[in-house]
Symmetry: C2
Subunit: 382 residues, 2 copies
């Protein structure tokens, strides 16, 4: 391929020490018809953009910047170091402007809509789009009196939902992390495909999944906020008083604690642990993906005082929580490993049963959370 050849010549002198494997494929997250970005078998990301008058263009993946090289036609091209399997957010830097790559579809993360790249994972079959029955993902707008704002959730209903019109289903409430929103799980999280595949194989019970936005502030608090203060989040109130009643009313749910689960990633793991422990009459399943409510602390937890002492009676909690599930990626930063470790140490001391999963070779990113969802949902509503 002419472009590939040109690139390998242009870049050969600057990257002599690290030869780049020329087996790049068009990325699966590209916009229809766009030839770049591409990914090779080493997990390198190659981007290309026309910017004839630019001084410099860089590929910025998670804050690490890679310089691109311009050819005579004003086309910039270059590639990253090998990336870990799974999904990563990235941007282009054109003469100091951080902008999305016009080649990709866009995803909300890092507090912005921006580019994403998918490094094919060795286990990607579990979230692949396959010829199996597919559920629906529905977008629902609702007015929230607590926040004085319109909010939105996405609701996955399983493939059999429309044909079994008398059947009612259990519900999983599933939350994103910080600087993400309600589009994370149905988008880059691939929640619907993971459940479609699990349900088709009989490995998970058909369930409804509700994906809402974890950011929620009282209207009056937001108005009085100064730049140096941040209002308290009221997501727990929105979840209990608004989201759950909305879903119970609109969908054919089973209104019982043993048919209601909750889970979240990172900030969402912290939030949902507080919600479940404050509302044990409503939930019997908890999943914490890369996060616990003691984050970021790595110090020993005093069960008598932590979250109102809910962990102080291990036997009672073992009766109440049918599945307490924790997961983390093996290459996540220490702060996650250590705070989750301190939390588990407390659980062990209290004799509280729990599942613990390590996602091999993944960081604080979506492949860790896709795998966590895949593991966790198989244990629900059994």
């Amino acid at each position: 391929m002419a472009i590939g050849l040109m690139a390998s010549i242009a870049l050969s002198h600057v990257r002599a020490a690290e030869p780049v494997k020329e087996d790049f494929q068009i990325s699966e997250v590209n916009q229809a018809g766009k030839k770049f970005p591409q990914v090779n078998s080493e997990g390198r990301v190659r981007v290309q953009i026309a910017a004839p008058d630019a001084k410099y263009v860089q590929l910025d993946i998670g804050g690490v910047k890679y310089d691109l090289t311009k050819n005579e036609q004003g086309m910039w091209m270059g590639e990253s170091a090998p990336q870990e399997e799974g999904f990563h957010y990235y941007q282009l830097n054109i003469d100091g402007a951080s902008v999305p790559d016009p080649g990709t579809r866009y995803f909300y993360g890092a507090g912005r809509w921006g580019s994403g790249i998918e490094i094919p994972a060795h286990d990607q079959e579990f979230y692949a789009l396959k010829v199996v029955p597919h559920g629906l993902v529905s977008e629902l707008n609702y007015y929230s009196g607590i926040t004085g704002k319109w909010r939105r959730c996405f609701v996955y209903t399983p493939p059999c939902y429309e044909s079994n019109i008398d059947k009612r289903y259990p519900v999983l409430y599933l939350q994103h992390g910080s600087f993400e929103d309600e589009t994370g799980w149905p988008g880059q999280g691939k929640a619907a495909l993971i459940l479609d595949n699990l349900i088709a194989e009989g490995k998970a019970k058909p369930m409804i999944i509700v994906m809402d936005n974890g950011y929620a502030f009282r209207a009056e608090d937001e108005q009085t906020t100064t730049s140096s203060s941040r209002p308290n989040m009221v997501f727990e109130e929105v979840m209990i008083d608004e989201i759950i009643p909305l879903i119970e009313n609109r969908f054919r749910t089973i209104d019982h604690r043993e048919s209601r689960a909750i889970a979240g990633l990172s900030m969402g793991a912290n939030q949902t642990m507080r919600i479940v422990m404050n509302n044990l009459d409503k939930f019997a399943y908890y999943g914490g993906f890369s996060g616990t409510a003691n984050y970021p602390s790595a110090t020993d937890i005093d069960a008598e005082n932590f979250l109102g002492g809910v962990f102080s009676n291990g036997e009672r909690l073992n009766d109440q929580i049918k599945v307490l599930w924790l997961g983390v990626g093996t290459t996540e930063p220490d702060v996650f490993q250590l705070s989750i470790g301190a939390f588990r140490k407390m659980l062990q001391k209290q004799g509280i049963k729990h599942y613990y999963y390590e996602s091999p070779d993944t960081a604080h990113e979506w492949l860790t959370w896709r795998r966590s969802l895949y593991q966790y949902t198989q244990l629900l509503f059994q």
Copy 2:
């Protein structure tokens, strides 16, 4: 506001001849927390982007480029001439790179995911998000044997759909235009909000709306395509043999021609006119928004030969088609006005009843089509 003041000083000498009204508001299509782009009461669009090392930055709305000015902090800012009411696609040009503005949400149009801007329209109430019951918009993935590809549609179900589980609903199949896709109507088209509001006011019957992708090619044709040839579209076959059976099977529809409507904009108007006229056993309502099947021709139409002579017997067609609806924006390019005019002349000659709507002061853009949908759907399934 400091930034606004600075801008008016910086730009005052270059735009002395056309003073800019300093009443800019944050655009409704911005990403959460982003202060730019903004729109003023003249319909000017003001953008801002940090690009400290750029030689030039331009705002590009529909191919018309406006130069921005850099301040000492490396922040570029500037604004467009006044724009027409409604939605427009735009990009930024940074040293020759055409990229989305990091301030906006993104929309698919002009063959790409890119920025959009909304100039508040005097009649925007009909598509505003209001405290009325809201329908769901569901995303459905399906495998198409005809094209050998996975395809996707969005399905609007009216607010009452979940509570009336024995009720069946009529269906409108609604298509986008060229270089757009199935996200156009549920996104910038605001189809769900338009119907939610109409249904709440009792002005439209509750209906299902199916929004699919009008681009469809046979797998074998795509493989043999060279750069100089383009395969034939097979969207009609996909619609009749795949999409309609899929929807009939999955949703509670009324399987009868008088409960099935079709409409499209521009390319979609052309496509759906062919589909309805070839399948009068399946549809009784047609809506052509800014397009007809004789496009781009302005010459007289011979009813005996056009579309297989279906218009030759006006009396028979008047019996078969309950609503034949045409609409166009008053500022659309001549080619649309003239081809639609030639089509209407033929209808009149044949004595074929039809509705004709002109959207005041709108171009070949989404406000024309939002208004068309608003008008057309009030006439359906009565």
